[in-house]
């Protein structure tokens, strides 16, 4: 077996490499956003890009999220592959109109698609308050035509971003800012890391309970599963969705039919969150395989608060996941 050369890569570096590699391989790929050029991006994802790719392909824009997404749509119509950065994913709100009304519907209405990526840092845990911490996936969940990706591992961040750039449809790519520099993995230095959209991944196998989750909650769920295994001897399966739309219902349902128990964990608030949709789909597809009610562990239904005590209260913790898992296993 030929050994593959690897290098320790952070989640953030994996994203940077995906962008660089796609831009090097395909000159139609370009980026636009606020402070991404001269400054190198608020999180330094695009550091050095302006020097390497020049101002035609690394475009500093005014603070105009609607105009950024609009320009990405128009460029996509013309055969370019735009990657638009939202400085924080919270600021996608001013671009909502452009995304849900223009980008998502353009292929359906006119036959001309809008293959573009809108990427940005999401998620709480960094003590950043209500406007730099949100998980916005549910805002867009009810909009056919959009795809949504939320990687947890560096490998997936890289592989899915590359696939998103190549995808023919608008993709919202949610990078969890808490993972940017905390996740480090050995990634191959050569050969393509490419992960297709729409495929969930079994992060940790098990036969007693299924946890479906994504983003930073994958790691909290896995830690909780390890504890349940060590302390109770039960094997919890953790499924990392990776792509939220299209949702990999098949993988979820197959796991639930095996374990008979389902816990859904996400960082976004509960009401109208992805957990509700997954619950409905499992009820439709696997009701008679269930041995317990489906449970959800999510953020509480409030804005993301700022103070450490408040934010920790707001976010689901390992303990919450362990106790919900135990409840389900004992049901």
């Amino acid at each position: 077996m030929a050994s593959v050369e690897t290098r320790e890569t952070t989640y953030l570096t994996a994203i940077r490499e995906a962008l660089q590699e796609e831009m090097r391989a395909d000159e139609t790929v370009f980026m636009l956003g606020e402070d991404i050029g001269v400054y190198g991006g608020a999180f330094k994802v695009t550091e050095g890009f302006l020097e390497e790719f020049g101002p035609d392909r690394v475009i500093d824009t005014p603070i105009s999220e609607a105009a950024i997404v609009g320009a990405a749509i128009g460029a996509a119509h013309m055969g370019l592959k735009p990657v638009a950065e939202m400085q924080f994913i919270d600021f996608i709100a001013p671009a909502f109109d452009m995304i849900v009304n223009f980008a998502a519907k353009s292929r359906y209405r006119t036959g001309i698609g809008a293959g573009l990526v809108i990427r940005g840092p999401c998620g709480a845990g960094a003590r950043s308050g209500p406007f730099h911490s949100q998980s916005v996936e549910s805002y867009f969940a009810n909009v056919p035509g959009l795809k949504m990706v939320a990687p947890a591992r560096a490998y997936d961040a890289k592989g899915l971003l590359r696939a998103s750039i190549r995808d023919p449809d608008p993709v919202l790519f949610f990078e969890h800012k808490f993972l940017y520099r905390r996740i480090k993995e050995e990634l191959p230095t050569e050969g393509e890391v490419l992960v297709p959209l729409g495929e969930a991944r079994t992060h940790r196998p098990g036969n007693d309970l299924t946890i479906v989750t994504y983003g930073a909650m994958v790691f909290k769920s896995a830690d909780a599963a390890d504890r349940v295994a060590a302390e109770d001897g039960s094997e919890v399966e953790v499924i990392d969705l990776r792509t939220l739309r299209p949702l990999d219902t098949k993988t979820i349902v197959e796991s639930v039919r095996r374990t008979g128990r389902l816990l859904i964990v996400h960082e976004a608030p509960r009401f109208g969150g992805f957990a509700g949709e997954i619950t409905a789909q499992v009820c439709e597809e696997a009701f008679e395989w269930l041995d317990a009610p489906i449970r959800r562990v999510t953020a509480i239904d409030t804005p993301v608060p700022y103070a450490p005590t408040l934010e920790d209260y707001y976010l689901p913790g390992e303990e919450d996941i362990v106790s919900a898992a135990r409840w389900l296993l004992a049901y």
Partner: protein, 382 residues
């Protein structure tokens, strides 16, 4: 920065043609005929749409550009092959100038499966890359943001192509309009924006929507030049459009053209415009863009009353044929509602049916585990 042009109106023609200089030198007798035909076609096609609207053949609303045809036609005619245009709702004439056929418009308004939007969207919401047309969507102000991206692609590829769009005075108040203008100016994009000061925005006068007296002033906020034209004077519009296009093509960036014009009908067919003062309508009726152009063409020997009548008859005959043909065409098949949501056919195929039968993916809903059903729960006596 602001350039305000002297308003010279065809209707007040002094007997001396004011159009012997600048870009108008390039307009010959054939162009004059084409402009007239486009103006008349716009009006006649809309009248035809109104007739079939009253017959119940139009699906949804009908919006007309009566009184504003000259701005759309003059602008559309000034563009070259390879340029792109994004219309608003009262710019039918520009689309016809770009090569859109009456059939296309009739199909759109009657929701035919053969329409450019395949029956999935209405009015002028079609995007046709071959003709350089970017379809707007209903949320006002958005198309400029998207057109910026088209212009950006021209700039990136060093192509001397230009984008052109229209904004209503009402639409110009949206956030997306402002963002679009700000970005086009900041990135020095090859764009021309026509601001249609037609005095009304649905049921609200523009004086109540904006504290702007001279609409060319808005350009100052973006650091770009503006020119004001009599929007009911097709030659003046053409001239201003041609100059702004040349400026954009030369790499000198965006120009705003303010068209002083008037919405002669209500917002749409359902709106009887009872809120409009009679004096206003009467005054503008005397400034009809088509009638004044006819006067001009005859006065300066380009056409005769007879030749103009021939054009009108030819247009009417063409519209008779187009209307009959289109009305004979079917609506799209119902199942087409589920097509081309995604760029991957397999994802379209996987769009679940949401009513009636039990859902299932890839036929996985099969035998139910009735034997084992609820075993854990029962054994726990729960």
């Amino acid at each position: 920065m602001q350039v305000t042009r002297e308003r010279r109106s065809l209707a007040r023609g002094s007997g001396i043609s004011p159009y012997q200089d600048g870009h108008l030198k390039t307009l010959d007798r054939r162009d004059m005929r084409s402009l007239y035909r486009l103006l008349w076609l716009t009006r006649a096609l809309e009248e035809r749409l109104e007739i079939i609207f009253k017959q119940g053949q139009v699906v949804g609303g009908l919006y007309r550009s009566l009184g504003q045809e000259a701005t759309a036609v003059g602008c559309g005619y000034a563009l070259s092959a390879g340029d792109w245009i994004a219309p608003s709702i009262r710019d039918l004439g520009a689309l016809l100038a770009r090569g859109i056929e009456p059939h296309d418009i009739l199909r759109q308004y009657t929701a035919r499966g053969t329409s450019l939007c395949a029956g999935k969207d209405n009015t002028n919401h079609f995007t046709v890359p071959e003709l350089g047309i970017l379809g707007p969507i209903s949320p006002l102000g958005t198309q400029l943001c998207v057109l910026n991206g088209v212009a950006l692609s021209f700039r990136t590829r060093r192509e001397p192509r230009v984008c052109f769009t229209f904004q209503g005075d009402g639409a110009s108040r949206t956030g997306t309009s402002h963002e679009g203008l700000a970005m086009a100016a900041a990135l020095n994009l090859p764009i021309v924006v026509v601001l249609q000061h037609n005095r009304w925005s649905f049921g609200t006068p523009s004086t109540a929507e904006a504290a702007v007296e001279n609409w060319a002033d808005v350009a100052g906020a973006y650091g770009v030049p503006a020119v004001t034209v009599d929007g009911n004077d097709v030659l003046q519009v053409y001239d201003a459009a041609a100059q702004a296009i040349a400026r954009a093509r030369a790499g000198d960036g965006m120009t705003i053209i303010v068209s002083e014009t008037y919405r002669m009908l209500g917002h749409a067919q359902h709106d009887a415009q009872r809120y409009v003062p009679d004096e206003e309508l009467i005054a503008w009726r005397d400034h009809d863009p088509i009638r004044s152009f006819e006067t001009y063409l005859v006065e300066f020997g380009f056409e005769s009353e007879t030749s103009l009548a021939e054009v009108r008859a030819e247009v009417a005959a063409a519209l008779d044929v187009a209307t009959d043909e289109v009305l004979a065409e079917p609506y799209p098949a119902p199942g087409e509602a589920r097509s081309r949501v995604y760029g991957n056919a397999e994802l379209d195929a996987a769009i679940p049916w949401t009513r009636g039968e039990v859902p299932g993916y890839e036929g996985l809903v099969t035998a139910r585990p009735s034997a084992t059903r609820g075993t854990t729960r029962q054994s726990q006596g729960a």
